[in-house]
Symmetry: D2
Subunit: 305 residues, 4 copies
């Protein structure tokens, strides 16, 4: 048995026209996810635009989501800081605000090696009495967490799981296989369109940014896989892969790679009436009318509006 | 209906103690593959060490395999050259030697853009009357073939398929979905350990380097998926993922990344009695006794020797 | 006339055996730099291990250096945060602590594009009434600040200068040439061993990590170049290039790339009696006895101890 | 004393309207270079579009240049092939056609490590009795030749020099310093706009693509540096840096990075009446009328037309 399994979307962060956090919309998106049947909430993830939030904003977001959730599902919270001691400070604060587990990357802006990364996770684990997820996101940290390091950290119960956004599906499969023999070591994929294959290979769950838009779809996908009905899971995945095309609607080059995907999720939620605006954190551009119209078309053909 | 589907391993190139091509061993490995039930043979691929072969050696390898195959399965042959006109010359020669289709990368050593890559494939298609596979292998070419380019080249019947070794599983899934609506556009994965998921997502086949070692295993995996029995396919895949651990046996840093995987395949075939030596093309090192012993253990626990 | 020119070393951060900031040693290294004739101090730079400091530590370091400096030379202080609004908060705090100018990178952990980076610098400039240096350090941010962006930001007086640690000497030369026509736009190189060439090309100064070890040497180099005696400047540079070999003494792979260079600077200062220990911020390893001995040899042959 | 020093431009390859090699124009550009006072000719370099040439074209180019040169200056010829044995075959052919030295990269399309690269150069040296230049061009090979490897190969007289297009000016300086103690080990920079600094640091010469356009300018720069007049050298370099702006005239994204620079050199030579067309090798686009007009402006303000 594993403590963490299932669909755990990274909650997006709605903003008001003046750029401040829109807690009313954040409340609604949290309810939307809970009603969609998610198994947990990933708070302050990349999809939440966490690197763009001030410290006060981070606290407000965690507090708001924790209030809505009221203990219904586990809150897995990102402690997005540059290096070990900064992560420990941030993590301690998040646990105080209600985090049931923390998500931590390798050091960034820093130029670490494997040894330092090992020390990093062990030091954080020693300082904080809370389950720790290693977040493998080399597109942001520019450091791929090595398979052997993750397995050893899992065996030593330093980490309780991995959120894999590495895009390295070969390493992911080997990680899933290795995790089978380790208690309480959960492997989640962060890639929205290959969840059926990940679950077929034995993954424990998924952290889908697109899950903000269609949490119930991911729940159906997960349940079909759990039932061993992979043909049904693949059909659901194919539909979700079509919904995922919303992230390709921005004109190439107009908005950044970071803003395109997150902006699409927020725009879809706006069109669905869940949040009020699709405004992005500074300095990111929001999606424009043409991009919004293209997203509307995709949502309509998939029955989401 | 698609012209190319199934298991099409990239045939390794055995060498003798003096470094020359060992045609006797090459004959045996070709027979081993055909007896394993493969649907085609990929000749002069990266797994064949094609960049390390002289022109005479390339001809000898194609001729030898073509002779053993005698038309039993399609021969898909790599035309591994730096840019368009060199590929056309190489490809024309390979067609003359019996290639049923060609595999072509984007220009390398060159620094192309998307437009030039589009022209590249269209020019080769115009010059050579043979099905063309685009080989997406950014770890070698350092250029990811864009999804939209591949789809357009498929729709325009410039390419008959894609061999994807990009490691980008998200893009791969979108490619498979897009290919559904295009006649005679086959999508193959080159990643040995995620074939079950690729087939679940709708891929047409696999070009597994590890298929040299266990062609029958990949055939069983493919057949299970074709029957819709993905739980069986995943079990076969899990076993093959364990066999794939042979590529991790070399001491890190002793041999290059290129030599580790290919050296492991050749060492396994040597241990299985299919080829005589595990000698690599210059300047690559061959696996040593300790590494060979580690591979033997993996093969034994998987019943391959 | 330009506001900022000359030798402005990034002050290293000494730590005590218990890992805390050693303000006594920090005081001594600051005096050592001022006595060496530096034209300014770069505080909280990468060489200060800024990403590894907690917020309290950052304040302590700035306050300590500002106290020792007592207005003798300008303090250029790094505001090392992930994105725009976080930089503004950090920068405002640093100005309050005595910063005469701020050093700011492009967003990191974020995945920005050129447009967002432009907005980033303009927003920070609008929020804070202080000269701003753009810090081009793609080895950490993984984003090269484009030449045209820097020039436009300089022309618009959004930035007062550039600290270039990009390693792109072609772009650097074009930047220096373009800066000639812009008032109060200072171009500094961060590369310790090519300062003679940078000054020959027209650079305004240097931010040398190695300047912690030999500030007087860099001052002599700068003065020779200012006098037009480039043969003398090159001879001084050659000597400093030999001193720079201290960064290559760590066993490859034992310490990280980040820790090797900074650890060598701190070890040299320890051997010179300027600071008490060569202890690095967690999770970085400190240089060991063998590495320290190798550094001693290099310092001795260059007359630094 | 060193065998190779000075200005050794990589000769561009003019093509006729039908795409074939234009030997008349090639003859004229060769004479233009010799009249400009160059110390050698680099034949079949990247600037010659060597990866885009068929084998017959490569032979024609070498033969044509060798005929015009008639032994006046050394011919340093690129053997641009994927791996060791292919380089040996190509190199042997080039020596037969008149090469006085060969230029060789690390293996490409291959995925080598340091050990294989060492073996690569030693095997080529053993097979061919001709001075060998290591060509460090990671933007094409995606492998930076390590400083220590180059120094050891130089000490062992395996290589007679290095052509550095790595863009790593720190490593370049260390290489130049290390080369001082080694006989017949010449270090050339390939970067057109930092030649003054490279010569100040002790480099032996330059292989400037822009030298096709203004060979006499590079000769004056070299002579000034040889006389110790670096202020004069820097002034000449500044002028050449302005001429170098021709490579930035193509609309970003319209032509590839490879085609922009080489296309600019050919367009300039066309405007100067040295060659007949600015046609690029397939699949590269040639510069268009607007880009040509922009180049004309730059050439006019620098007195080159």
């Amino acid at each position: 048995m594993r403590q963490f399994t299932g669909v755990i979307p990274p909650v997006v962060t709605p903003r008001s026209a003046d750029g401040s956090i829109d807690t009313h919309s954040l409340t609604r998106v949290t309810k939307h996810l809970l009603e969609g049947g998610v198994h947990g909430l990933f708070v302050l993830g990349s999809s939440a635009e966490v690197p763009y939030m001030t410290n006060d904003e981070r606290e407000l977001v965690v507090t708001t989501i924790a209030g809505v959730n009221a203990g219904q599902v586990p809150l897995i919270v990102g402690a997005c800081e540059q290096t070990t001691n900064r992560v420990i400070e941030e993590g301690r604060k998040m646990v105080g605000l209600g985090a049931d587990a923390l998500v931590v990357t390798s050091p960034f802006y820093a130029i670490p090696n494997v040894q330092e990364t090992d020390t990093h996770f062990r030091s954080i684990h020693a300082a904080l009495d809370v389950p720790l997820f290693a977040y493998d996101v080399p597109v942001r940290t520019h450091f791929k967490l090595p398979l052997n390091l993750l397995i050893q950290l899992g065996r030593d119960q330093v980490i309780a799981g991995v959120k894999d956004s590495s895009g390295d599906d070969v390493s992911f499969r080997q990680l899933v296989l290795a995790a089978r023999g380790i208690d309480n070591f959960s492997i989640f994929t962060g890639h929205e369109v290959v969840v059926d294959g990940a679950l077929l290979g034995g993954a424990d769950g998924v952290v889908p940014g697109l899950g903000n838009v269609d949490p119930a779809g991911y729940r159906r996908l997960f349940d079909a896989a759990a039932d061993g009905d992979f043909v049904k899971a693949a059909a659901e995945q194919d539909r979700l892969a079509d919904v995922f095309n919303i992230v390709y609607t921005p004109t190439p080059g107009r908005v950044s790679g970071g803003a395109a995907g997150l902006g699409a999720f927020k725009t879809a939620l706006m069109l669905m009436g869940v949040i009020d605006t699709n405004i992005m954190s500074a300095p990111m551009l929001s999606l424009n009318d043409a991009e919004t119209a293209a997203i509307r078309t995709i949502l309509e053909r998939n029955g989401l509006i």
